[in-house]
Assembly symmetry: C2
């Protein structure tokens, strides 16, 4: 199980990473995350849409409505330059944290 805080920390970077590969819409994003993680990560729509809205407010992504043949229109999201920057910053932050977590998860050595 993934803790609430880890969930919270990872949603934005994962969304940014997905959108860095091309535009996408809510339901599809949820499916991708589910599939890639082998079901390990399951997002609810009620959680995702507010996140997308906040990310748009923060200018990390933009959106457009696209009509669909025989279906309701989809709200597609695109990553912005600011979003790409944010993704890079995020990833470097994760790297710092990981480094520390990996370090401290090692057994204690004599020199410390």
């Amino acid at each position: 199980m993934i803790s609430k805080t880890l969930m919270a920390a990872s949603t934005r970077p994962i969304i940014l990473a997905i959108l860095s590969r091309g535009k996408d819409y809510g339901y599809s994003i949820i499916q991708k995350v589910k599939n890639i993680s082998g079901g390990g990560i399951e997002w609810s729509d009620g959680m995702l849409y507010p996140v997308l809205q906040r990310m748009e407010m923060d200018r990390l992504i933009t959106s457009e409505w696209i009509a669909v043949d025989g279906g309701r229109p989809r709200h597609y999201y695109h990553i912005t330059d600011l979003g790409r920057q944010a993704l890079e910053t995020e990833l470097s932050g994760w790297q710092k944290i990981l480094q520390a977590m990996i370090h401290f998860s090692q057994p204690l050595l004599a020199d410390e």
Copy 2:
């Protein structure tokens, strides 16, 4: 810079990882995190002590006061079995998230 959410997600597991190597007290934990990260992660005491209290309430750690020669007593924290379990659970969660983040950070391949 490390985002607020990432900070929130990582404090507990990092503390657990540190305590999994042996008992420790507040100030020392802050120094260790700072040193290991090369200054990249800086925790404040005002942030750490409440976290430690909550973790003790959740029975992930226990504490004891230990007298110090020529110094005020220190509040040492120990990891509990429940804490070790929580650490393992956390680490496996981080692994899932990382897998996804790494996957989506790869350029798009033909088969997707």
